[in-house]
């Protein structure tokens, strides 16, 4: 009933090509954004902002970046965390050494650095695919972390091997509370998500998908393989770089290179699997799922402890969490290979008819 598009006619091309062609979707998205921007910062407490919402937004952005590469262009990558590390540490250096730049240009420059690294490690993708490419990106993961750890310049010769992010300041206005950091992150993520959505609907995005679906056919119809693949690597790494910068500046604050291990890459890969490969919405759903799962588990075990009086040890809990995590991945792959985004689509189809079955 509520979700029915009958009576909405399109009379111009612009209307036909809107991002959200159905009015209910538009209203919902605007409402969501309005709530996120205007209500949440005042309502949510410190814990919600800095432990759930900010990481959720940042991981969504990283998942979005990986989704562009893996989901749309079909190039499997295990080096996401490395690109994030490049973004984070380069922002630190830009702010440290070229303070006159300001924070936003530093973010962008760091993203460009990450994109450059992405292009270099994307070069093998011209000759190899699939698992071989995954191994090539693994090389990137290990090499970048090693370089950041060993070359003192990246961390400003910090003796403890840890860097502390500077405060974020834009035009003299300091973003120092969780609420302000949340707003900044939200603004950047919303902007980049919009960009990504439009990019994927444009010629570039279609070229990515053509390469993903069948590279031989794509090159026959005149899509330049090299340009398309490297562009996918560059854009994806740019997104991951920005996500890494936000990760350091808005979430962690104090960070060591070990924060960007292979585990992080896998987590982001899981986000796009669970959320939906090749879907912008899926990146957000997957990130939300992965962030909320450990919290849900701890709530459940809390209830379990209260109910039975048995307190499981910390080691048992963390192992259980890992098992459930891996089990869910397999479960999702078997039951719904297209992820949460697909479930949402099915729900929409159902809602169009509800409550009348015909």
């Amino acid at each position: 009933m509520l979700y029915r598009e009958a009576g909405q006619f399109k009379s111009t091309y612009a209307e036909d090509q809107q991002i959200f062609p159905i009015r209910q979707d538009r209203v919902a998205v605007f409402l969501l954004l309005a709530v996120a921007f205007l209500v949440v910062p005042y309502v949510a407490n410190q814990y919600w902002l800095s432990a759930i919402l900010i990481p959720f937004l940042i991981f969504s952005l990283a998942a979005l970046g990986l989704n562009i590469l893996t989901g749309y262009a079909g190039q499997l990558s295990l080096g996401t965390a490395a690109f994030m590390a490049v973004g984070g540490f380069m922002t630190y250096n830009f702010v440290l050494r070229m303070a006159w730049l300001g924070i936003i240009p530093s973010f962008i420059l760091a993203g460009i650095c990450a994109a450059a690294v992405g292009i270099v490690f994307g070069l093998p993708s011209l000759r190899i695919k699939g698992f071989y490419l995954a191994v090539a990106t693994l090389a990137c993961q290990f090499f970048v972390l090693w370089a950041i750890q060993r070359i003192g310049w990246f961390m400003n010769y910090s003796p403890s091997g840890v860097i502390t992010a500077q405060t974020i300041e834009i035009l003299g206005y300091a973003f120092d509370t969780p609420a302000k950091k949340y707003l900044l992150t939200l603004a950047i993520v919303a902007l980049l998500a919009l960009l990504a959505k439009n990019l994927m609907r444009s010629e570039t995005g279609r070229a990515f998908m053509a390469v993903r679906d069948m590279d031989v056919a794509a090159s026959v119809i005149g899509i330049p393989m090299m340009k398309t693949k490297l562009l996918a690597f560059a854009i994806s790494s740019f997104y991951c770089g920005i996500a890494g910068a936000l990760y350091v500046f808005c979430y962690l604050g104090t960070v060591e290179p070990e924060a960007f291990t292979l585990d992080l890459s896998f987590r982001i890969l899981f986000m796009i699997i669970i959320g939906g490969v090749g879907s912008i919405l899926g990146s957000f759903l997957g990130a939300a799922f992965i962030i909320l799962l450990p919290i849900l588990l701890s709530v459940l075990t809390g209830a379990f402890t209260q109910a039975t009086g048995i307190e499981p040890s910390h080691a048992v809990l963390s192992n259980l969490e890992v098992i459930i995590f891996g089990g869910l991945i397999i479960f999702f792959l078997i039951v719904e290979p297209h992820g949460l985004a697909r479930l949402w689509q099915i729900a929409k189809e159902k809602l169009r008819l509800w409550p009348f079955p015909h």
Binding site: A136, A315, G326, I329
Partner: protein, 281 residues
């Protein structure tokens, strides 16, 4: 030593086209099970038999529960499923046996062999020789198994062409179960060797990652490739650490293998012994 792990990968890839990322976790699981049994006072050989049984059951159940429903999915999906499997196995093994590192005593001392050191000046540890011997025996056994037994021939047929194999009446499901069981046993052997060397601990799972460049170097489908690749990677990694390492600050062992593999890919994408890939793009 890397070869042993790589062998497990090759076996499964050959027979079912699945790139089993969980092989490292299986190695860890096998070694941990064995060590814990021995520490609880189980006789060495009995523990070995039990662990083999556990690994066979584990391999078959993985095939049944995880991979059977995913038949005909694109390889990337299968690969991701095995990543999920890795997490399950790592969590499971530590949940059951605890996460503290264990020492594994196989009765061979990790000391240089004196007569060799005296006569030729080479310092080679007994464990290493033993591991090399075991690897050799394992490979020979596998080669014989593949070459001369009925099941081995069926395995090769399945590897060549699933549908043709089905058409001539080879039970595909049984074959896959067997392959996973064999991979489980190979994982056990690899786990024991590595465990004797470095102790049984969580870091064991990372050697699986090291097996990837070995595979690339040797080719995904080739058993001799796994052996030769393992030797090349193992040797060059250590040599680079010793000779190039000091120049750039050390610690390059962690990524050097990948860079070799990467450079190698640019020249010969199919690996040393891999099947020729014909690419038109």
């Amino acid at each position: 030593m890397y070869s042993l792990v790589a062998l497990g990968f090759v076996l499964i890839y050959k027979a079912s086209g699945v790139f089993n990322f969980a092989q490292g976790a299986m190695v860890f699981f096998a070694a941990l099970t064995f060590v814990s049994l021995v520490e609880r006072g189980v006789n060495f050989w009995l523990a070995l038999v039990i662990t083999v049984a556990v690994m066979v059951v584990l391999g078959i159940s993985i095939e049944k529960v995880v991979l059977r429903p995913l038949v005909n999915q694109p390889p990337i999906t299968l690969f991701m499923a095995t990543i999920g499997l890795t997490f399950v196995l790592e969590g499971l093994s530590q949940l059951i046996w605890g996460s503290q590192p264990h020492l594994l005593e196989l009765g061979i001392q990790d000391v240089p062999m004196e007569w060799l050191a005296q006569s030729t000046g080479m310092v080679i540890s007994q464990t290493d020789v033993f591991a090399a011997g075991i690897a050799g025996i394992l490979v020979a056994a596998l080669a014989l198994f593949f070459q001369y037994t009925r099941i081995g021939r069926a395995l090769r047929a399945v590897a060549d062409d699933h549908q043709a194999a089905l058409a001539v009446g080879i039970p595909l499901k049984h074959i896959w179960a067997i392959v996973w069981a064999v991979a489980g046993i190979v994982a056990l052997v690899a786990g024991l060797m590595w465990g004797a060397r470095n102790g049984v601990q969580y870091a064991l799972t990372f050697i699986a990652l090291k097996a990837l460049p070995v595979l690339i170097l040797g080719g995904f489908e080739s058993i001799p490739g796994a052996i030769v690749g393992g030797l090349i990677i193992g040797a060059s990694e250590k040599l680079a650490e010793v000779y190039i390492g000091p120049m750039v600050g050390g610690g390059i062992e962690s990524w050097f293998a990948y860079v070799i593999a990467l450079l190698f890919l640019l020249v010969r994408p199919q690996g040393l012994f891999g099947e020729k890939i014909i690419d038109r793009v």
